[in-house]
Symmetry: C2
Subunit: 159 residues, 2 copies
């Protein structure tokens, strides 16, 4: 394994580990349990799961892996706060969450280590030339942290 393979593999493994933790926490929950707030007056678990799904769905074009699967999740879980929209049921959101993550993984599997350093889908050629850190790998690392951030919140309801 080359150094670049080792580094890319470690980051993908850390991504997977965080998804496994999220799956373990969210997937067994009933619709009723998904209504729990992470703290009094804060987001409900159902909103967090939809929010993570929307953010991961946006990674498909951002990492230049393909079109979005659930663009309608933006208004439900991203641009509007919790308790402002009628949300899909837990089973539907869980299915979307799993489909989006499978599509991402299928895309990751097609990338060679060096491909991670290509520009991401929301930066112009000109801006990327000025700042080559605006690459796919930075997106992967940032979104891995985003899962961890909300896991830290979601876990407050579970113990």
């Amino acid at each position: 394994m080359t150094a670049e393979q080792g580094l890319a593999t470690a980051a993908i493994n850390t991504w997977k580990l965080n998804l496994e933790r999220a799956n373990k926490l969210f997937l067994p929950l009933s619709d009723e349990e998904l209504q729990q707030e992470i703290a009094p007056g804060k987001n409900r678990l159902v909103y967090l799961l939809g929010h993570l799904t929307a953010v991961h769905d946006r990674m498909l074009p951002l990492l230049v892996l393909g079109p979005r699967l659930y663009p309608e999740y933006d208004s439900l879980f991203l641009t509007n706060p919790d308790k402002s929209s009628e949300l899909p049921g837990g089973a539907e959101i869980k299915k979307a969450w799993q489909q989006v993550n499978e599509a991402l993984q299928a895309g990751f599997d097609r990338l060679a280590p060096g491909d991670w350093l290509h520009k991401h889908g929301s930066v112009s050629d000109e801006d990327f030339e000025k700042d080559p850190s605006r690459n796919r790998f930075s997106v992967l690392l940032s979104r891995t942290g985003h899962v961890a951030y909300h896991l830290g919140q979601a876990v407050l309801t579970r113990k």
Copy 2:
């Protein structure tokens, strides 16, 4: 910049970004504000900051960068839960937090990209041969997620 340099740099930048967010949240807080719980009956901010400091201090030997600076933080912030020990004041913990992170950064600056794939300090040669993913880079990525995890909790007190 080689691919391995690009990948290692992106991970170090993501680490720094999370530290900057933590600094922005924790450093301006008074001792009184640090007493806030992230949710009713949960850890206080002062405990989270000490806990992050202890975990980062342990990274010094784990990444083979040098000896620990605050080993006494383990019993205060890691092996015992919040509200079981008398804790240092906020100024002291903030100073420790910053010193530990500076020592880590000085160590990172000495590493070549390929060095991140060397075994970390808590795995035997034999076990590392079986599982080369137990390397320094995995530790860096995992601990970056750990900061994000607790940031997601700490932020619940701030808005």
